[in-house]
Amino acid sequence: MTAALPSSPPAAGAAKRQFLHDAAEHVRDVGHREFVRRALGGYYTSRDTQKARYRDWEQARDAASMAKWSAVNRLDELLPRFEAAFTANGGQVHWARDAEEARRIVLELLATAKAKAVIKSKCMTSEEIHLNQALEADGYGVVESDLGEFIQQLRGEPPYHFVFPCMHVRRDEISDLFGQHLGTPPTDSPEELTMIARRHMRRLYVDADVGITGANFLVAETGQISITENEGNARLTAALPRMHIAIAGIEKVVERLDDLAVLLPMLATAGAGQPMTCYNTLYAGPRREGEADGPEEMHLVLLDNSRTALLADAEQRDALHCIRCGACLNVCPIFKNVGGFTYGTTYQGPIGSVITPHLRGLKEWNHLSGASSLCGACTDACPVRIDIHHHLLHNRRNAARSSPDRLERIGQKLFAAVARRPWLFATGGWLFRKTLGLAKAIRPPVLSAWLATRDLPPAPAQSFRAAWKRRQR
C-alpha cells in the first residue's frame, strides 16, 4: 500500500486535545460563527415550508424509521437478496471488510480498466476510507465533481459538513482559489463561480474512463442502487465513463422500492428543506442492450469497516438507520459553534459523535459524547428517529465502564455516597453556601472554568430546607 495513508494511531488523548484546542479557537472567531449561522438561516425557513406540505410529518417519520429499522434488523436476509438482484442486473458486488480492502478493490478495478482519468461524485464512504489519497499515491488523477467537494479538494481540506462540504468558505476565498488553480478572473457572484466550475468540469466528464460515486440506498427487491444529488454531477459521472464504481456501507440496504417513496422526499426535506433532491437516480447495472449509452461495467464495493460492530450493539443499532441527510448538524448548537473540522471525524455533528466511537474506538473518541449539552435538537430533527442524544449518554456510560477517569470516578462515588445520606447532603450544601464566596476568590479548577466567562450569584443566607422549616412554624 501507500505511505500517504493514515496508518499509525496518534498518541492517546490526541483527538480530545485537538478537539478542545480547535473548539476554543473556533469559538473565538465570532465572525465565522455568524457566517455559518447566516448560511443556515434560509434552511430553517424552507425546511419548515416543506415540512408543512406533509399531511403528517411525525407519522411519516414513523414510516421512514420503520423502513430503515426493518431493513437494518434483517441485513442477514436483505444483503444476499440485494446481491443476487444486483448481480442479475449485470453488476458485480465486491465485499470489503475494512478500509484497506476497499481501497485495494478500487485500485484493482482501475488497473483492469486501464484508467487514466477518474471522476468522482460526492461519496462520504470514500472520505471514510481515504480513497483519494490512495488513488493519488498510485498516480491516478482524481477530480471531485460536486462543487463543494471540488472546492474542498482544491483547498486540500476534508468536507466541513457531510452534506454542505464548503459551507464555511466565503465567496471571495472561492474566487481567489479558482483564480489560483484555474486562472479565472475574480468575481463575487456565486452564480459566476458556479459556472466556472461547470465549464471546467464538462471536459472532464467526457474524458474520464472511470466514474466513482456513492450510494444512498440499495434496494433489495430490485437490485438497484439509489443516488441522491442536486447538481447532476453524479448523473454525469455514471453516464459518460466506461466503468461505474459505487461505494456504499452495508447498512444502506432497504427492502423495497416503495420504501423510497417515503425516504427520498424526507431525506430532502429534513436535510435541505427541499421537496425532493434534484436528482434521485436508480441504477440497475451497466448499459443494457438497446440503451443509448452508459458504462460497460458497474461495480459496487460493499463496505463493513466496523459497521457490524455498531450492528452488534442492539441499543445503538438504530444509528445505522442514518440516511446522512445532515439535519442533525444543521440544528446542532455544538456544530454551529465549533464548526465541522473541530470534530476531526469523517462524519461531523451529532450522528458523527454517536458513531465515531464505534468506528474508531470509544476510548479515543468518547470526548465527542461529552461535548454535548444533550439538548436533543438532533433527535427531534432526525427523519428516521435515531435516538441520537440518548446514545451520547449511552456512550458516556460505556466509557465510564470500560475506561473510567480515575479522579472522576472517585468524585462520583463520593457524590453518590453523600446523596444517599440526607444529613450529610444537607451539611455539604451548607458548607457549599458558606464557602462559595471564598471559593470564588480561590477559583479551584471547576469553578474557574465557569468564572472565566460567567458570573455566579452570591449564595443566599438560607437554604430552601431551612426557609421551609421556618415557614411551617
Binding site: 449561522r37 435538537a377 457524590f415 453518590a416 453556601r433 469553578l447 450569584p457 443566599p460
Partner: protein, 240 residues
Amino acid sequence: MTISLFIPCFVDQMTPQVGLAVATVLERLGHTVEFRPAQTCCGQPSFNAGYQDEARAVAIHALEVFAGAEAVVGPSGSCVAMMRVFYPELLAGTPHETAALDLAARTFEFGEFLVRKLGVTDVGARFPHRVTYHDGCHGLRELRLREEPRQLLRAVRDLELVECDEPESCCGFGGLFSVKFPMVSTAMAEVKAGSLARTDCDYIVSSDPSCQLQLDGWLSRQGKRPRTIHLAEILAGTAS
C-alpha cells in the same frame, strides 16, 4: 390533593425563593404542600457523566423518599425529566423498575402540573412587564412542554409575552458540560442570551433554574440586561 415538593439540590442551596413560590401557588389553589427533608439530588450529575451505578443508587434513594406521595412537583424541567424519563430506563430490569415507573407517572414539572394535571392556566397573577420565555431543552424535548408555560404566562394580567428568534436553541448549560467544555458552553449562552435580549424584554422567564444560572451568569458578566426569573415567581406574585 397533597403535593410533595421536589426541590433540586441547587434550588435548595442557591434559589430557595423558587421553591417557596411553587408552594405558594399550589397552596393558593387549595392543595396541601409537603416537603420531605430526606430528599437530596435526582442523580443527574452522575447519570449524565455516564456513572450509572452511582446514579442508580441516588435514584433508589429518591424512590424511597417519595414513596406513597400523591403527586411530586418540581420547579425544574431537567430534574423532572430525570425522574420521568431516565429513572425507568436506569432501573429497568431491577427490582425497582415498578417503583420507578410508578414515580414517573406521579412526578410533574411545575407548569406542566398546573396545566395538564390541574387544568389551571389562570392563577390570578399580575406582572406588568414585557417578558420572553426560554425553553429549557429537557422540558421542551423530554417532557414535550411548549405550550403549557406560555398558556400560563398569557393568563397573567398586564404581561406581554414575546418570542425570541432562537426559540429552540439550548442555553449551553448541560451540567458538567458547562465546565468540561466551557468555551463551547459559553458560545451557546452568547447565542441564546443574545437572542433573548434582542426581544427587548424586561425579564426572561424560565422553568429551569439551571438555565437561569447559565443565562444570568453570562448576561451579568457582559453587563447586559435583562435577567431571568422563574415562572413560579411570576405566578406566585413574589417576583421583585
